[in-house]
Amino acid sequence: MLLTVVIFLPLAAAGVLLAMPRLSGRAAAAVWLAASSADLALIGWMWWRYDPGSDAAGLVDGIAYEVDVPWIPTVDAGYHVGVDGLSLPLLALTAVLFLACAVWSLREPDRPRTYAALFLFLQTACLGTFAALDLILFFVFFDLTIVGMYFIIAGWGHGNARRSALKFFLYTFVGSLALLVGFIGLFLGSDDRTFDMVTLAKNPPLTESPVAAGLVLLAIGLGLAVKTPLFPFHTWLPDAHTDAPAAGSAILAGVLLKLGTYGFVRIAMPILPDAWRRWAMVAVVVGVVSVLWGAFVALAQTDLKRMIAYTSVNHMGYVLLGLGAAGLVGQADDEARTIATVGALYQMVSHGLLTGALFLLTGWLWSRGRTYAFDRWGGLARPAPVFAAALAVAAFGSLGLPGFSGFVAEFQIFTGALQAAPVATVLAVAGILVTAGLFLLALQRLLTGATVEPATGHGADHAPTRTAPHAVASAATATAARTPPRVRTEDLHGHELLPVAALLALALILGLLPGVLLDVFEPAARMVTQLVAR
């Protein structure tokens, strides 16, 4: 019951917002903030009460806060939701990111009430997907996230927002249809004729017919690969990100991409263990190609937001490498495969926090100068030192510096995967060098050098102005003191700094004290590895 409240509380708040057309923007923001905070508090409570059992670690048993109500009895689909070690951290991540976006958007000027309602609707859809233990329910929530995000990009985006939103919608929707085909295949192949994930994972379907299982895995894999996104199905991502509002991008990268990787761990691996083992090398290869492709394309970008979008492809590639390695049962021992799985799960949370923070920070650039292009900004550390510091911290976190959560994730993925897939892993390790280079290059372009700001608030066609002389060879601080007085670019405001700082602080905590999260993830990862090895 508590879980149902958690899932639908945001939707109820959205309903309230829509039912009160006279509500002021401030009040709407307050409702949004209150609902998101309450949801996070409830999930915090659930976490507090959650016991990550070692023998009943989730997926097939030991599921907490479980509700199972028949819904479409003819096909045995039900409202079956629950929480285990896989879903709890992702539910928490969702609540954290939505709350961060609520704070960030406190002063949203454009139709704030509808905006808040859409985000709340999207929050319910995301929470529902992570909590769902029934394939049809999963599919419904999964598709609703696409709908919600479509409206956010199309309605509040900029640039070529309509087109990007349409591309996003059509591409991911087609992907979800492949997913549905796969789900129907699972239903038809199951002995019990059910859509229930727990039942299916306990008694995997299609064990007798490898070809059919392979085809079903292909359909599910395609659907999830589009969502994740993995090479070569990733090209909707940069467009959608570039034109989405900052908060929308943060949710898209932080939460929606995880629906794809989550589907691999929750559905593909436990329900089709034979097929996953058989085709694990494909997952590894796709993962490594995504890692390198995403990193190199990101390196070539001339626009900060597109660059970050491509690093998401890179980071999600590590997840697939870890999950693929977990399926290479013959090549590696249980210990190594579990570590790879833990790393992959950790990467989902870590990427959500760090990339969420990065995307929120890109919103600062847009709101101050209406552009993300590297060549139209420069020397921002002078007028906006807080922004510069936050961007630098987020960048170092995202490039996998130890001390931040990304290192914990990537280190475990590499360490666990090397035994199973040595060549692929060594190639993937090179990816962290490219990301280091591209993030440092971005910092160098945006934050240092002569101060460059776009000419006017909206002047996409004006030349950038140079407001500081070129670097001079005298004492460092003298230069800083001599920065020009007319600084238009305001530093981060409180409501912008707070969510970013919170996300970065969480990434730091999870990087230094990973036990908080590992205690929950590890038993679940062990269970996934066992189920795959069946």
Binding site: Y171, T235, W236, Q412, L433, G437, A476
Partner: protein, 621 residues
């Protein structure tokens, strides 16, 4: 015991925590930053003395899913020497930084990163598990980026930091691979167990460790980042290039010497990489016009002897070299930094007669330069000879000897100018406005370091070498008297010849400075980002023109098919419907024509109809 364990924890955490606080406080903390740093480094030194005696071990929970995934730290003989060296030099350099930084400098940021960096180095030299090592190792790289790019307002500084970080991180990748190999080969991530890894995993781990160490220590082929790293403030150069950072690579190889030896090839590779770096970077150092660049190249060269020592198994000699080099190089960098602040230049041409301008500092610098030259009875003479004494391979030994001669030559270049009488025509203030004042603090620091640089020459005495060996728990092989004398004579001759040439013909080295060696022999090109950028652009092109174009093509194709189907729908399907309707309408119109209302016509129609019926009847029957 638990007290010592706490001391070890605080040793690493105290500088880290205070550094983080300074960074968070920002410019508000500028005024207390220096005092905080002195407190932190002095405290670290005291704790280092405690842990060096008590040798505690400590383990903090980290990656619970991995055996050996915890953050393990411990102090053994090697670590004890290293923590003492790091904290001593760090404390002295902190004092130097206090007096060298400009009054308006962002001190909180400087000392914040400085302390974090020191904490990372202390973590590196005490780590017993791979996660702990990698954490400290990479944080050290990142903080070195921040320190090198400290004056980010100046052109090129951030670029130099980026290059240093990316280059050392390229090496760091090796440690990630080594960690995976350790897990696969030994089932855990303990550093000490690496040598027992089975089969190919030991090779993979050794290769990874070797690459990581070569990157950090600026050995071939990674050397060129050191040149750019000179863009950092003088105290940063003094710290990074003496007891920390570059020293970390040498330390790691000494630490993992059993692993290198177990594979065989890795030990040889390390020995050759070290020896060749000592030779090549020694040659580069000879051809520098800028004192800091000369010292940077000589750093890579001198650490090359440590790497050689790790390769040939001369742990005691290598450790001695590491410590002696730290003292020598810190003293020289402090002097170079003080001269830069006072005289506004670090070009050798501007530093003519620097010793006479500031005699006490000058004497300290001269002593350190004597040590760098390998002159007896000073420290590097003793340590270098003890390393070469254990180098059995004749070719390797020849390379090492040649490199030792080169170090006498580049040290001679420094001595030739700084000891000369100032002519008054030196191009002072070539790079910045000099203060014409060397603070007493800088002089004191340089003197203390120079005393250490000279004093470690005691390692030439077999008894002293044996004490070091006992501390490290290895058997020391002091060089025998003949080798020591021969090496000393070679160094003295080479240094004296260089000084004589430099005195007699001051322009003698100009041609050398203009040669490729002066520009670091093109080593920078090895680190060029251009190939990576070219790949990136090509891949981005493919991403847009092939991958996304395919998607757009599918979308366009679907739209086109839809239009075609729509047309077919209008023309064919709906056309058929419309044609049917037309036919029916025509038939209806036709059916109306006989309805004329004239009875005689109806009779005719009836007759015609009956006639047709009759014919039909007849035909059918």
């Amino acid at each position: 015991m638990s007290g010592a364990r706490t001391a070890l924890g605080i040793l690493v955490l105290l500088p880290a925590a205070l550094g983080a606080v300074l960074l968070l406080a920002g410019r508000r903390a500028d005024r207390i930053a220096g005092a905080t740093a002195v407190f932190a480094t002095a405290g670290a030194f005291a704790l280092a003395v405690i842990v060096a005696g008590a040798r505690p071990g400590l383990s903090l929970p980290f990656l619970s899913a991995v055996p050996g995934g915890e953050l393990g730290f411990a102090v053994d003989g090697l670590s004890a020497v290293l923590v003492l060296m790091v904290t001593t030099v760090a404390g002295l350099i902190t004092v130097f930084a206090l007096v060298d930084l400009a009054a308006t400098a962002a001190r909180a940021r400087f000392f914040g990163y400085f302390l974090l960096f020191i904490a990372a180095m202390l973590g590196t030299v005490t780590a017993t598990t791979l996660p702990a090592l990698l954490l400290a190792w990479e944080v050290m790289g990142a903080t070195s980026y921040a320190l090198i790019a400290y004056r980010w307002q100046h052109q090129g500084r951030v670029g130099a930091g980026t290059r240093a970080f990316v280059t050392t991180r390229a090496g760091d990748l090796g440690l990630y691979v080594a960690a995976g190999a350790a897990l696969a080969g030994t089932g855990n991530l303990y550093l000490g167990g690496l040598a027992t890894a089975d089969g190919g995993w030991a090779d993979a781990a050794a290769a990874g460790v070797l690459i990581a160490a070569l990157g950090k220590s600026a050995q071939l082929p990674f050397s060129a980042w050191l040149s750019g790293a000179m863009a950092g403030p003088s105290p940063v150069s003094a710290l990074l290039h003496s007891a920390t950072m570059v020293a970390a690579g040498g330390y790691l190889l000494l630490r993992t010497q059993p692993l290198l030896a177990a594979t065989g090839w890795a030990a040889d590779a390390a020995a050759w990489a070290g020896a060749l770096t000592a030779l090549a970077l020694g040659a580069v150092a000879v051809a520098q016009r800028d004192l800091k660049q000369l010292l940077a190249a000589s750093t890579a060269a001198q650490i090359g002897f440590v790497v050689l020592a790790a390769g040939v198994g001369a742990t005691a000699g290598g450790t001695g070299q590491l410590v002696a080099h730290a003292a020598v190089k810190a003293a020289l960098f402090v002097a170079a930094g003080a001269w830069l602040t006072a005289l506004g230049s670090k070009l050798l041409a501007s530093l003519r007669g620097a010793v006479r301008r500031y005699p006490v500092l000058g004497v300290a610098a001269t002593a350190a330069a004597f040590a760098l030259a390998g002159l007896p009875p000073l420290s590097l003479w003793a340590t270098k000879e003890s390393i070469l004494a254990e180098t059995d391979d004749a070719a390797l030994r020849m390379v090492g000897l040649a490199a030792a001669v080169l170090s006498a030559v580049y040290a001679g270049r420094i001595l030739a100018v700084v000891l000369a009488r100032p002519t008054g025509a030196e191009p002072l203030d070539a790079e910045e406005e000099g203060t014409r004042r060397v603070p007493a603090g800088a002089t004191v620091v340089a003197v203390v370091l120079a005393i250490a640089a000279a004093g470690f020459g005691v390692l030439a005495v077999p008894a002293a070498a044996r004490v070091l060996g006992d501390v490290l728990g290895v058997e020391a092989h002091p060089a025998d008297g003949g080798d020591l004398i021969l090496g000393g004579i070679l160094a003295a001759v080479a240094a004296a010849a260089t000084v004589a040439v430099g005195r007699a013909r001051p322009g003698a080295f100009d041609a050398l400075d203009r040669s490729p060696l002066g520009a670091w022999a093109g080593l920078g090109r090895l680190l060029s980002p251009r190939p990576a950028m070219a790949v990136a652009r090509a891949v981005a092109f493919l991403d847009d023109r092939v991958v996304d174009a395919a998607v757009r093509g599918v979308a366009r194709g679907v739209a086109r098919v839809a239009v075609a189907l729509g047309r077919a729908d209008t023309d064919l399907v709906d056309g058929a419907v419309r044609a049917t309707a037309r036919a029916v309408r025509w038939a209806g119109a036709a059916a109306r024509r006989p309805q004329t209302g004239l009875v005689h016509q109806y009779y005719v129609q009836a007759v015609a109809g009956l006639g047709v019926l009759l014919v039909l009847l007849l035909v059918v029957r």
